[in-house]
C-alpha cells in the first residue's frame, strides 16, 4: 500500500515541480474507467511483409492481457508501437484516451515515463549498480539523488533484492536481473507495464517466481500489465485475457480459461499443444477414419458445465461401457477446464456425442482404433 500512496503523492507533486519536462496528462480525468490502451486498425509494414495487418484491441485498467503468437507474428512490433519506439503506418493508438500516433519524439518522452517496460534480455546497464539502474527513470525525471535512491531502495525491497543494491548486474543471476528490471520499470509509478518476452530467457522455476511477482504487483498496485510471449504457460499462469496473433492479425481472443478450453483456430491449438492433454502418439497413429473398431473422441468441457458429475451421468446413460484413454481437469483462473479422450463402441457414438454436447461440452470424433487396440 505504501507504494500506491507514494505513487499518488508523487503525481500530485509533479504539478508543482519546476517544469523541466512537459508532463503527460491523460485525456480522461476520470481515468479509472475505460481502457488504458485502445488500438484501432493498426498497420505496420516492413518492406513486403505486414508485421501488423489491422490490429484492434483494448486493454482494461488493472487487467493482465497476454498477447501470444509464434515468433515473427508481429508481437514485438505491436508492443513497441505502444510506447512509440515503433510507428504504425496507419491506425489509431490511444494511451489513457490520448492519441499518440501523431506525436513527435519530444512529446513521446513524457508518455514513456507513464509506461514501464521489461525485456527478454533485461537490458540493465552494466556500468551502473543495481540501485543506480532502478533509479535511472527518476534521474531522467529530474528527481534529486537522495530521493531517487530512497525510492530505489523501496522498489528493491518490493522485488526482494535489498541486499543487492550496491552490486553490479553482472553479479546477478537471470532471475535477479529480471527482478531489477521490474523494479526499474516500476520506479516512475507507471500506469502500464509492458513485458516483452520477459521470462523467455529464464528457466521454468525462475519463470514461475517472476510471474508470481508480476501477479503480486498487478494486485497490490492495481497495475495494468500487457505481456507478449510465445509460451502459453506464461499466459496460463497470470493473464486474465489472452489475444492470439498470427501473421499480424488477431485470430482469437477471450478470457484465458475459455480460450484454453475451446481454442477456435489452428494457431491457438498448436500454441496450446504443449500444455493441453493430447491423444498419445502411439494411439493417434493407429486411428483410421473407417473401420469396425472402437471410436476415439475428445471431450472439452469447461467452466460451470465442468462442475457436474460428468462421468457418473455418462455411465448411467451408456451402460455399454467406454474407456477413458487420457485427459484430466486443469484449473485456469479458478475455472475447471477438462479435456478427455475416450473410446467406445461405434454404435454408441452418436448418442454419446449429443448427450455430452447437451451438457455444454465440445466433442470431436477423432477416428476408429484398430480392433482391440
Amino acid at each position: 500500500m505504501a507504494l500506491v500512496h507514494r505513487g499518488l503523492s508523487r503525481r500530485f507533486r509533479k504539478g508543482t515541480r519546476m517544469n523541466r519536462h512537459v508532463s503527460w496528462t491523460p485525456a480522461e480525468t476520470a481515468a479509472d474507467s475505460g481502457d488504458v490502451i485502445r488500438l484501432a486498425d493498426v498497420r505496420r509494414r516492413f518492406g513486403e511483409t505486414a508485421a501488423l495487418d489491422g490490429v484492434s484491441l483494448g486493454v482494461r485498467r488493472g487487467e493482465i492481457l497476454g498477447i501470444i503468437g509464434r515468433s515473427g507474428a508481429g508481437k514485438s512490433t505491436l508492443i513497441r508501437c505502444l510506447n512509440g519506439l515503433e510507428r504504425p503506418d496507419r491506425g489509431s493508438i490511444k494511451i489513457e484516451g490520448r492519441e499518440i500516433t501523431g506525436l513527435g519524439e519530444a512529446e513521446l518522452q513524457p508518455l514513456r515515463r507513464r509506461i514501464g517496460m521489461i525485456f527478454q534480455h533485461f537490458n540493465l546497464l552494466s556500468a551502473k549498480t543495481v540501485e543506480e539502474n532502478v533509479a535511472l527513470p527518476l534521474k531522467i525525471e529530474g528527481w534529486p539523488k537522495a530521493k531517487r535512491l530512497a525510492r530505489a531502495a523501496e522498489l528493491l525491497e518490493l522485488v526482494g533484492l535489498s541486499d543487492k543494491a550496491k552490486a553490479y548486474p553482472s553479479a546477478l543471476s537471470g532471475g535477479q536481473k529480471q527482478r531489477v528490471g521490474i523494479a526499474r520499470a516500476l520506479a516512475a509509478s507507471p500506469a502500464l507495464l509492458l513485458s516483452d518476452e520477459a521470462t523467455s530467457a529464464l528457466d521454468p522455476e525462475t519463470t514461475r517466481s517472476i510471474l508470481a511477482l508480476l501477479k503480486d504487483i498487478n494486485i497490490k498496485l492495481g497495475l495494468t500489465i500487457l505481456l507478449i510471449t510465445h509460451e502459453m504457460e506464461v499466459v496460463r499462469n497470470i493473464a486474465d485475457r489472452v489475444t492470439v496473433i498470427d501473421a499480424g492479425r488477431i485470430v482469437e481472443e477471450g478470457p484465458v480459461w475459455q480460450v484454453f478450453a475451446t481454442p477456435q483456430t489452428e494457431t491457438t491449438r498448436s500454441l496450446l499443444s504443449g500444455i493441453r492433454p493430447q491423444l498419445p502418439d502411439h494411439i493417434a497413429r493407429t486411428l483410421s477414419s473407417e473401420g469396425s473398431g472402437d471410436v476415439v473422441l475428445s471431450i472439452d468441457i469447461a467452466g460451470p458445465a465442468a462442475t457436474g458429475p460428468l462421468f457418473q451421468d455418462l455411465s448411467k446413460a451408456f451402460p455399454v461401457g467406454y474407456r477413458l484413454i487420457h485427459g484430466g481437469v486443469d484449473h485456469i483462473q479458478k475455472q475447471p477446464v477438462g479435456r478427455f479422450f475416450i473410446a467406445l463402441p461405434a454404435a454408441s457414438t452418436a448418442g454419446l456425442v449429443s448427450f455430452v454436447e447437451r451438457l455444454g461440452a465440445q466433442v470431436e470424433v477423432l477416428g476408429h482404433v484398430a480392433d482391440h487396440a
Binding site: 514513456r112 552494466s126 556500468a127 548486474p169
Partner: protein
C-alpha cells in the same frame, strides 16, 4: 654515458611526454565527440543523418590517409597560425593532435557501436532523450573500450612523435636519430630504445589496469 648525454636523454624524454600528453589530450577532447557523432548519425543511430555521416567519414578518412611526415610539413601554415611558430616541441603538438584526432575518433566509434542496442532502447522506453542516452548509456557502457583505445592512441603518438624531429621538436626519436644513428653512438640508441620500451609498457600497464577496474560486464 656522459652526464651531458644523460641530461639530453632526460630532456628528450620530457619533450616526448609533453608532445604525447598534449596531443593525446586534444585527440580525446575532439576525437570522442567525433566518434559519438559518427555512431549517432549512422543508419539506425540515435540521430540518423546519412549525409552528415558520410561527410564526417570522408574527412576523417582523408586525414588518416595522409602519411604523418607529410601532414607534419603540410600543416606548417596552420601550426604557425595557432602556435605562432612552426618549429619546436609546441609546434609539433598541432600536427600530432590533428593526426591523432581522426585516429582516435575511429577507435572510439568502434567501442561506441558495440554498445548493445537493447540498452539504448531501454533508456528510450523510460523516456530518455538523446543526451540521456549519450550520458547514461553510450559513454559509460563503452568506457572500457574508450580507455583501451586511448591507450593505443597514446602509444601510437609516442611513435609518431619521433618524426617530429623533422620540425625541430626534439624528443626521444630525434635524439636516437641524431646521436644514435647519425653519430654512431650505439649507447645512445640503446638507451633511447630502452627508455621508450619502459614508457610504452608503463602506459599500456596503466591503461590495462584502468580498463579492468572500469569493466563491470563480468
Amino acid at each position: 654515458m656522459s652526464p651531458i648525454m644523460l641530461e639530453l636523454l632526460f630532456r628528450s624524454l620530457w619533450e616526448t611526454i609533453v608532445m604525447t600528453a598534449a596531443s593525446g589530450f586534444i585527440s580525446l577532447v575532439f576525437g570522442l565527440p567525433l566518434g559519438l557523432a559518427l555512431v549517432a548519425t549512422a543508419r539506425g543511430g540515435i540521430a540518423e543523418n546519412l549525409a552528415v555521416n558520410r561527410a564526417l567519414g570522408a574527412v576523417i578518412n582523408g586525414f588518416r590517409s595522409v602519411p604523418f611526415i607529410i601532414l607534419l610539413v603540410a600543416l606548417i601554415p596552420v601550426t604557425r597560425l595557432i602556435v605562432g611558430t612552426s618549429i619546436g616541441t609546441w609546434a609539433a603538438i598541432v600536427p600530432l593532435a590533428i593526426a591523432a584526432t581522426p585516429y582516435y575518433a575511429r577507435i572510439a566509434e568502434v567501442s561506441l557501436r558495440e554498445v548493445e542496442r537493447g540498452l539504448i532502447e531501454a533508456v528510450r522506453a523510460m523516456g530518455g532523450n538523446r543526451w540521456t542516452i549519450i550520458r547514461e548509456v553510450l559513454i559509460p557502457e563503452a568506457m572500457p573500450g574508450i580507455v583501451a583505445g586511448f591507450t593505443v592512441t597514446l602509444v601510437t603518438l609516442i611513435g609518431a612523435s619521433a618524426m617530429a624531429g623533422a620540425i625541430g621538436a626534439g624528443g626521444l626519436g630525434d635524439l636516437a636519430i641524431r646521436y644514435g644513428y647519425q653519430r654512431f653512438e650505439t649507447a645512445v640508441m640503446v638507451a633511447v630504445v630502452a627508455v621508450l620500451i619502459v614508457l610504452v609498457c608503463g602506459i599500456q600497464w596503466l591503461g590495462d589496469r584502468l580498463v579492468s577496474r572500469l569493466d563491470r560486464r563480468g
